[in-house]
C-alpha cells in the first residue's frame, strides 16, 4: 500500500471516529443542553418543557406569554440587548439567571437600578452540605406556599432592590463574602439578602435570580427548585413557549462541534437536501464511470 493511500485512509478513519465520539460522548460543559451530567440543563429542559435558542434573533416577533431564560456568561452586544428589550416590550417574560456573569449589562441597558452583587453568597447554617450551597427559606406570597426551600449552588445576591419586587431572601445567617476568605468579616453585608426579584417592564416582565445553577441537572431536583422556577415564570398561568438562550454560555470546542453536527444532521434530513446529495452522488459516479471507460457487462 502506498504512503499516500495510508494517510488518506487514516484521515478518513480519524474524521469518522471523531464524529462518532462527538456524537456519542455527552457534553460536560456547564449549562449545556446536551449535557446530561450534573452540570447540564438537559433535565430542566424536559421538566420545564423548554427549548433552546442559539441566537437572540430567533426570538418570536410576538412574544406574548413566552418566556426567555438567559444565563449571561458572555458579554451582550447592542443588537442582543435590543432584541431582549423588544422581547420584553412585546409582552415576553425575561428571566435573567446570573451569579458572576454579565447580567448587570442587561439591567444597565434596560435602565433598571437593581444589580447582581457578584460577590459569593455564603450561608454556613442554612445550606446544603456546605456554605457554598445556600438554602432559601423566605419567600413572598407571590411564590406560593408550596415552595418552602430552594437550594442554590455558588450564588450571589441582588442589590439596589428598591425598584423591584423581591420574592425570595436568604437567611439572616448568610453573607456576601467580599474578600473571598469564606468568613464573615466586618464590613461584609449580612443576610437576609434578596436572591430573586421581578418587575413589570414594558408589556412584559423581568425576573432576576441570583443563581443560574438552580436549574442544572443535579440541583433542579433538589428541594423545591423546579417548583420555584415554575412559580417565577408563572407556568400555572397561560405561559407560552419557554426558551433557554444558549448563545451567551461559554462553549467548549466539543460543544460547538456537537451543535454544528446537530445542525448538519437537521439540514441533511431535509428532503430537498437529501435529494441534492443523491444527485451529487449520481453525478460523481457518472463522472467516475466515464473516466474509467469500458462497457458494462462486456467480457474482457
Amino acid at each position: 500500500m502506498k504512503i499516500q493511500s495510508v494517510l488518506i485512509l487514516t484521515v478518513v478513519i480519524v474524521v469518522i471516529v471523531s464524529l462518532l465520539c462527538i456524537s456519542l460522548f455527552p457534553s460536560v460543559q456547564d449549562f449545556m443542553s446536551y449535557n446530561t451530567t450534573w452540570n447540564g440543563i438537559r433535565r430542566s429542559l424536559i421538566d420545564l418543557n423548554a427549548g433552546t435558542i442559539d441566537t437572540l434573533k430567533e426570538l418570536p416577533a410576538a412574544p406574548s406569554n413566552d418566556v426567555l431564560i438567559t444565563i449571561p456568561y458572555m458579554q451582550y452586544n447592542d443588537t442582543d440587548l435590543e432584541e431582549l428589550k423588544n422581547f420584553v416590550d412585546g409582552g415576553g417574560t425575561l428571566m435573567v439567571m446570573d451569579d458572576y456573569g454579565y447580567g448587570n449589562s442587561i439591567l444597565e441597558y434596560l435602565n433598571i437600578d437593581c444589580r447582581f452583587s457578584g460577590d459569593a453568597l455564603l450561608d454556613p447554617l442554612f445550606c446544603y452540605k456546605n456554605q457554598w450551597f445556600p438554602e432559601i427559606t423566605d419567600f413572598s406570597s407571590a411564590i406560593g406556599k408550596n415552595v418552602q426551600l430552594v437550594a442554590m449552588d455558588h450564588a450571589t445576591a441582588l442589590i439596589n432592590t428598591n425598584s423591584v419586587e423581591v420574592v425570595a431572601w436568604s437567611s439572616p445567617d448568610s453573607y456576601l463574602d467580599k474578600n473571598g476568605n469564606e468568613k464573615l468579616d466586618k464590613g461584609e453585608v449580612q443576610g437576609p439578602l434578596p436572591v430573586a426579584a421581578r418587575l413589570h417592564f414594558g408589556g412584559g416582565m423581568i425576573i432576576l435570580v441570583s443563581d443560574p445553577s438552580i436549574i442544572i441537572n443535579s440541583m433542579v431536583v433538589k428541594d423545591d427548585n423546579l417548583l420555584f422556577v415554575n412559580q417565577l415564570i408563572g407556568s400555572e398561568a397561560q405561559t407560552g413557549h419557554i426558551m433557554i438562550d444558549t448563545s451567551h454560555l461559554v462553549e467548549k470546542p466539543m460543544d460547538v462541534t456537537k451543535a454544528k453536527l446537530a445542525d448538519v444532521e437537521r439540514v441533511l434530513l431535509q428532503p430537498y437536501v437529501l435529494l441534492g446529495v443523491v444527485f451529487l452522488i449520481f453525478i460523481g459516479t457518472s463522472i467516475f464511470v466515464l473516466k474509467t471507460g469500458g462497457a458494462i457487462g462486456r467480457k474482457s
Binding site: 480519524v14 454556613p124 447554617l125 438554602e135 427559606t137 455558588h154 470546542p253 457518472s286
Partner: protein, 673 residues
C-alpha cells in the same frame, strides 16, 4: 526506506485514532462544584449564633421572630444529633417567649387589681404568674442543657478562649443567664407586690403558700364586704339605641352613697356613675355599634380614698343585652371572562331578608385587595370595572364590601375574576400550489370571540420572503408575497403567520400553513440534466471510442496466417481485431482486418446502417451502398478481398494490406465529400 516510512505513517495514524477516541471526555473542565460530591461541613459558629439570635427574640419579646426561627430550624445543615438538640432548643425557647410575654401583661394587671383592693380577682392571676415563672426557669434549664450538649458535639472544650466558636458559645450562655435573671426579677416583683402575708414572714413565698393564697391574706386585715346589683332596661336593643342601667351599692345592708361605680361592657369600661345618698345609681348608655348578638354588662365598685382598707371591691353579676341589627347577604356575579384593558361587569344583589332595605348603600370595590372604586348602589346593582392593560392573566380576587351603616351591619362578598387574553382566529385563503418564481396572493380575516381584530400587525414569512401588513378595521387583510428562488424541486413549504393585535386584551397569534410549492426553474433544469445524461451520453461515449480508433497508428508490414473463418460477420471482425492499437510489426491479416473495421465503422456512422448479427458482409454492403453513394464501390471491393481471406485458404500478403489501406483512405475521402 519505503517500508520504514510506511511503518511511521501507520504508527502516527494509530496514535491519532487513539487520541481521538480517548481524549474527548477529559477535555472538559468542571468550574462549578458538584453538589453530590461536595464536602459536608457543619459550622458551630453559625449554629450558636442561631441560638443567640433566637434568644434575642425572646429578650425582645418577639414571638414572630421566634416562630420564624422555629420554622427554619429543620432546614439547618446540622448532624442528626445536633438536629435533635436544635429541635429541643427551639421548642423550649418558643415556650419561654410565650410565658415571658404573658408575664409582661399579667404583672401590671395584678398590680392594678391589688391597688384597687380587688383581691379575689388578683389571686388566680398571681398564682398563674408564679406558675409561669417556674415554667420559664424549667425551660431555661432545658435550653442550657441543649446548648451544653451541642458544645460537646462541637468540641467546645478544645476550642481556644478567643476562638469564634468559643465566643459564639459564650454569647449563648450569656443570653440564657439574662433570661434567668429576668425570671428572677419577675418573681421578686410579684413577691414585692404581695408583700409579707404575715408580720413574721421574711422569706419569699413558697409554692405551697402561693397555691393556698386567699384574698383575705392579700388584704392583710379584715374588710367590710360590699354588694352591688345591676339591672338593664330593656334587655333587647338595636345598635345605637339607648338603654338604662341601674343598681344598688351596699355593705352589709347599709347603702354606700356618693361612690363611683364603673359600667363594663364585655369587661371594657364604658362609663362611670356615682351612687346617690341611698346607694342607688342609674344612667343611660348607648348600645355600641358592635354587630354581635350579645353584650355582657357588669358594674364594678372598688374602694378609693378613705374606703381603701375598709371595704372590699365588688363586681356585679353579668347581665346579657341582646343586640339587634339588620343583616344582609351579598351575592356577586362577574363576567365569565374578563380581558386586560377592557371593561368588565360585576352584578351584585343584596338580600335583606325580612329587614328593611337600605337604598342607596355605599360599597367599596377592591381588586386583589386594592381599593379600586367607591359608589352608592341600590340593592340590585351592576358595577363596571376597567381592568388595567397590564393586568396579568389568570384568576384575580374581586371584593365588594358595604361598610356598616347605623342598624345595618357590614357585608362583604368575594368573587373570582378570570382574566384572559383572546386568541384570534385566522381565516386564510391560500393558493393550492405556489409556483416559484412567482407571486402568491393571500387573503384572510382575523376574528376573535369578541369581534374582528382590527389594526393588527401581521407578518407573513414564506421562505426568505417577509411581508408586513396591517389588518383593516373589520380584521380583513390582503397581501402579495413573492416566491423567491431556492434549492428544491417541489414539496410542501410553510407560510409562517404572526399577528400582533393592538388591543391589550388580544393575544398574539403565531401559526403556519403548508403550501404545495413547485420550483419550476429547478424542475426544468433537472429535466434538462437528465435528458443530457440519458440521451446524449451514449452518443458521446460512441463518439469518444471512434475518435480513439482514428488516433491509432498505422499498421506495420508483416505476413501471418489468417485464422479459420467464422459464420457471423460481426463475430468474425470482433474476434480478429485486437483491442490494442495495431502496429506496423503486426501480422498482415490483423492489419487488413484493422482497416476493414475502420471502414465498417465509418459506413455505420455515415449511413446509420448497422451490421446486424448473422448478417453477411455482402448483405451489409448491399444495404449500406444506397446511402453512401460512390464510396459504396470501394466498400464492395474491400469486402470482396475480405471474403476471399475469410472464406478461402488464401493467406494475406503485404499487397492485400496496402490495397486495403488504399481502399479505406479512398473511401474516407469519398465520404468527406
Amino acid at each position: 526506506m519505503k517500508k520504514l516510512s510506511q511503518r511511521i505513517a501507520i504508527f502516527a495514524c494509530l496514535l491519532a485514532i487513539c487520541f481521538t477516541v480517548f481524549a474527548s471526555p477529559a477535555m472538559a473542565a468542571e468550574p462549578q462544584e458538584n453538589p453530590d460530591t461536595a464536602k459536608v461541613v457543619y459550622d458551630g459558629v453559625s449554629f450558636f449564633n442561631f441560638y443567640s439570635n433566637t434568644l434575642d427574640f425572646v429578650l425582645e419579646r418577639s414571638q414572630s421572630g421566634v416562630d420564624t426561627n422555629v420554622q427554619k430550624a429543620p432546614f439547618a445543615n446540622v448532624s442528626p444529633v445536633l438536629s435533635d438538640y436544635l429541635e429541643y432548643f427551639v421548642n423550649s425557647t418558643n415556650s419561654v417567649c410565650g410565658l415571658i410575654i404573658n408575664l409582661d401583661k399579667s404583672i401590671p394587671e395584678i398590680k392594678t387589681l391589688l391597688q384597687q383592693s380587688r383581691y379575689s380577682e388578683a389571686v388566680p392571676l398571681i398564682q398563674n404568674a408564679f406558675a409561669n415563672i417556674s415554667l420559664v426557669e424549667y425551660n431555661v434549664n432545658n435550653i442550657e442543657q441543649s446548648t451544653a450538649d451541642a458544645g460537646i458535639e462541637f468540641n467546645i472544650s478544645h476550642a481556644s478562649v478567643t476562638s469564634s466558636l468559643n465566643t459564639s458559645y459564650t454569647a449563648v450562655l450569656d443570653r440564657i443567664q439574662r433570661i434567668r435573671d429576668l425570671a428572677a426579677l419577675y418573681r421578686s416583683m410579684l413577691t414585692e407586690q404581695i408583700g409579707p402575708l404575715t408580720p413574721e414572714q421574711v422569706s419569699p413565698l413558697t409554692q405551697e403558700q402561693i397555691n393556698a393564697l386567699t384574698p383575705e391574706q392579700l388584704a392583710k386585715k379584715p374588710l367590710l364586704q360590699t354588694q352591688l346589683t345591676l339591672t338593664i332596661t330593656p334587655t333587647e336593643a338595636f345598635v345605637g339605641d339607648t338603654i338604662k342601667v341601674e343598681g344598688f351599692l351596699s355593705s352589709d345592708g347599709n347603702p354606700l352613697g356618693n361612690r363611683q361605680v364603673n359600667i363594663l361592657l364585655n369587661s371594657l369600661q364604658s362609663l362611670t356613675v356615682n351612687t346617690d345618698f341611698q346607694g342607688h345609681y342609674s344612667n343611660d348608655i348607648q348600645v355600641p355599634y358592635w354587630y354581635i348578638p350579645e353584650i355582657q354588662i357588669q358594674s364594678l365598685y372598688y374602694p378609693s380614698s378613705d374606703d381603701v382598707g375598709v371595704y372590699s371591691s365588688v363586681l356585679s353579676t353579668s347581665v346579657p343585652l341582646k343586640v339587634l341589627f339588620y343583616e344582609a347577604s351579598l351575592t356577586l356575579s362577574p363576567d365569565i371572562n374578563s380581558y386586560p384593558g377592557k371593561e368588565t361587569t360585576i352584578t351584585g344583589q343584596f338580600d335583606y331578608g325580612q329587614s328593611p332595605e337600605l337604598n342607596p348603600r355605599k360599597i367599596e370595590l377592591d381588586l386583589d385587595n386594592t381599593l379600586v372604586s367607591e359608589s352608592e348602589v341600590s340593592p340590585g346593582f351592576t358595577e363596571k370595572l376597567l381592568l388595567p392593560p397590564d393586568t396579568e392573566t389568570g384568576q384575580h380576587l374581586i371584593t365588594i364590601s358595604a361598610p356598616a351603616s347605623g342598624r345595618y351591619a357590614s357585608v362583604t362578598a368575594h368573587a373570582t375574576l378570570n382574566v384572559k387574553k383572546v386568541i384570534p382566529v385566522l381565516t386564510i385563503h391560500l393558493p393550492s400550489v405556489a409556483f416559484i418564481p412567482g407571486t402568491m396572493s393571500i387573503k384572510g380575516q382575523l376574528n376573535s370571540e369578541i369581534g374582528p381584530v382590527g389594526q393588527a400587525h401581521i407578518t407573513m414569512t414564506f421562505g426568505k420572503e417577509k411581508v408586513d401588513i396591517i389588518s383593516g378595521d373589520d380584521g380583513t387583510f390582503n397581501a402579495k408575497i413573492k416566491n423567491n428562488m431556492s434549492f428544491g424541486l417541489f414539496g410542501s413549504q410553510p407560510l409562517e403567520f404572526t399577528a400582533v393585535p393592538q388591543e391589550p386584551w388580544q393575544t398574539a397569534l403565531t401559526t403556519s400553513r403548508n403550501i404545495m410549492t413547485v420550483y419550476v426553474v429547478n424542475c426544468s433544469a433537472l429535466l434538462c440534466v437528465l435528458a443530457i445524461l440519458g440521451v446524449l451520453l451514449p452518443r458521446k461515449i460512441r463518439f469518444r471510442k471512434t475518435r480513439s480508433i482514428e488516433k491509432e497508428k498505422m499498421p506495420a508490414v508483416g505476413v501471418t496466417q489468417s485464422e479459420p473463418t467464422q459464420a457471423s460477420s460481426i463475430s468474425i471482425i470482433n474476434s480478429l481485431l485486437p483491442e490494442e492499437e495495431t502496429s506496423n510489426n503486426s501480422a498482415p491479416d490483423k492489419r487488413l482486418f484493422y482497416w476493414y473495421r475502420i471502414v465498417i465503422q465509418l459506413v455505420q456512422k455515415v449511413s446509420g446502417v448497422f451490421l446486424k448479427p448473422n448478417q453477411t458482409l455482402r448483405e451489409f454492403v448491399s444495404e449500406s451502398c444506397n446511402k453512401i453513394g460512390l464510396a459504396g464501390k470501394y466498400l464492395l471491393e474491400f469486402t470482396k478481398i475480405m471474403e476471399k481471406v475469410l472464406y478461402s485458404p488464401y493467406r494475406v500478403n503485404e499487397d492485400d494490406v496496402k490495397s486495403g489501406e488504399k481502399l479505406a483512405r479512398n473511401m474516407r475521402e469519398s465520404l468527406k465529400k
